[in-house]
């Protein structure tokens, strides 16, 4: 499988970035971590906008930079798209000219493969082409910025909190486009975000950074459920499963989902049978029991095996579980944990009280 390997060491005043990463060159890799953890700097290194002391960057078998051989593609020669936190559209050009900016320069060197019509349609910006950036809403600006980045036929798309400057409504306007773009264009994406919402919705692969170092890097599920990481230790810890729609209970508006570990029913509008979905479950919405519940809703009680137990601050315990082929987190009080006498490998019943469908 083709990959993306990078290694950078860069000292800037009191901060040091020291990273080595192997990422799949397919799907969306979300980079997350607290402010000042070096996420943006990492992206800038990949784009060639910084001069690291030690640098290695290989994208799909092509080496962009190798400081040991004193080789480095200039930033303007790297076939990538970069979407900045603020759209950074050129104010003296209209939307069409902004999109054409990189495209024209690309044509000097090669033949752009696909037409831009798909991208413009996908991002729904066809009606904005003649407008000046100053006359666009925040969401429209970011969509144009994404189109502009895609117009250079990138081999890699770098996105630095592209939705951070938008309000919630505009975020929901763009998120579905991002997922579709990824499917339609088969383009690897590195995506920085602070938002757990964007992370769980978009990520295939998750990278966690702290103080200029990589804390963890792996499949979304695996990183989310690692008990030694801050993600699982937070109050809003959650896990994500992939499931398929198999029925709809119209009377109660319950969507029936099937996955390797059993069946879930979630209140939702009807969706076509066979749709693959991502479901996010907050750890605090999962309770554990030793016996199957005698409740009237047997669907959401899953047979689970305990993988790990970690005591958290102030009276809580987080438990990681295997349910079929999926991983799940549960957060229970320490008292409950002690009462259940949880131990590794133990079989328990995980009751899912709430789950959110991520479109």
């Amino acid at each position: 499988m083709s990959t993306l390997s990078v290694q950078f060491r860069l000292k800037l005043a009191a901060f040091e970035l020291d990273v080595q990463l192997e990422l799949p060159a397919i799907g969306i890799s979300v980079i997350t971590g607290s402010s000042g953890s070096g996420k943006t700097l990492l992206l800038r290194c990949i784009a060639g906008l910084e001069r690291p002391a030690l640098a290695y960057c290989k994208v799909k078998e092509i080496v962009w930079e190798d400081s040991t051989r004193n080789y480095s593609l200039a930033a303007y020669q790297r076939p990538l798209g970069y979407v900045f936190q603020e759209s950074c559209l050129f104010p003296h050009l209209n939307v069409q000219q902004n999109i054409d900016y990189g495209r024209k320069r690309l044509r000097l060197r090669s033949n752009p493969s696909q037409s831009l019509d798909t991208v413009i349609e996908l991002l729904n910006i066809g009606h904005l082409l003649k407008r000046s950036p100053a006359k666009l809403s925040g969401g429209e600006k970011q969509r144009v910025a994404i189109a502009r980045a895609l117009a250079v036929d990138p081999q890699l798309l770098l996105m630095d909190e592209p939705l951070a400057s938008l309000d919630q409504a505009h975020k929901y306007e763009i998120l579905p486009y991002l997922r579709r773009l990824q499917w339609d264009l088969q383009l690897p994406v590195l995506y920085i975000t602070h938002s757990p919402q964007e992370m769980t919705q978009l990520a295939d692969h998750l990278v966690l950074m702290d103080k200029g170092k990589i804390l963890a890097s792996g499949e979304l599920q695996a990183v989310l459920t690692r008990l030694d990481l801050p993600l699982a230790q937070s109050q809003r810890a959650s896990s994500v499963l992939t499931a398929e729609v198999f029925a709809y209970d119209a009377a109660f508006q319950l969507l029936q989902l099937r996955f390797s570990g059993g069946v879930l029913s979630v209140p939702h509008l009807a969706l076509p049978k066979g749709s693959q979905l991502r479901v996010r479950i907050y750890a605090r919405d999962v309770s554990l029991a030793l016996q199957p519940p005698a409740s009237f809703e047997p669907f959401n009680s899953l047979h689970a095996q305990v993988l790990g137990i970690m005591n958290q601050a102030v009276g809580y315990t987080t438990v990681s579980l295997r349910v079929g082929a999926e991983l799940l987190l549960a957060q229970v009080t320490r008292k409950t944990a002690s009462f259940l006498q949880l131990k590794h490998g133990q079989i328990v019943y995980a009751e899912i009280k709430n789950a959110a469908i991520l479109s």
């Binding site: 906008l49 930033a75 950074c88 050129f90 990189g102 320069r105 060197r109």
Partner: protein, 221 residues
């Protein structure tokens, strides 16, 4: 109202100011870019050097230029040794002096415009495959056009208004170095207030309309 002598002086002044401004735009643009973006140790010194003509009496600048460019000066001697005429009391000499004299008026507005550019826009252009020079012409320059406009107007107007430097290095040769300000001085010296009034009024009108158009054009900023 204006004598043929006056018209000669006016056209000479316009020629001097036009050439000075043209040369300055070419010199000042890279200089302003360097000053706006360099972090080297010499930045402060270079800034001070460029601003020097703002503070110095023009006669000081003229004096040193006269020494330097004169037949005994370092530049004058080397020019003589390769068979060139020395520069003092010639139009070329006046042009050199004007360029130095008006330098800060052209560099500073451009430098301010460059410093005010959003660096991220330049980086965005880079990630869109624009080479550095391409980025400069396609993004930096159009976004700094107000700075260039101000620089052009100030550089031109300030050269029209110079007097001390001209007197020191240019002298008073009709059609060669006698610009409007010197012509006016001559009139006053010879008590010809009538002629001085027309020329002075013309300069006031010129200065006012230049500044007015500048503020008008920059009003949107």
């Amino acid at each position: 109202m204006l004598s043929p002598e006056d018209w000669t002086a006016i056209s000479l002044t316009l020629k001097l100011a036009g050439l000075t401004t043209g040369i300055l735009l070419v010199i000042a643009t890279p200089l302003a870019w360097h000053l706006a973006y360099t972090q080297r140790w010499w930045k402060a010194s270079l800034n001070a050097l460029v601003a020097l003509p703002l503070v110095l009496p023009p006669t000081v600048l003229g004096f040193y230029l006269l020494i330097l460019l004169g037949p005994k000066g370092w530049v004058g001697q080397s020019m003589k040794s390769i068979g060139l005429d020395t520069l003092p009391f010639s139009f070329t000499g006046l042009l050199v002096a004007s360029v130095l004299y008006s330098l800060p008026f052209v560099v500073q507005p451009i430098q301010a415009a460059f410093s005010g550019l959003d660096r991220r826009l330049l980086e965005a252009a880079t990630t869109l495959q624009a080479r550095p020079l391409d980025t400069f012409f396609s993004v930096a320059l159009p976004l700094s056009k107000h700075g260039f406009l101000t620089a052009t107007v100030l550089g031109f107007a300030h050269t029209v208004g110079e007097f001390g430097v001209v007197l020191m290095i240019g002298g008073n040769i009709s059609g060669e170095t006698r610009v409007v300000s010197v012509q006016l001085y001559d009139y006053v010296e010879s008590m010809n207030y009538q002629a001085a009034h027309s020329l002075a009024a013309l300069l006031v009108l010129f200065a006012f309309s230049v500044l007015l158009s500048l503020y008008y054009l920059n009003r949107g900023k």
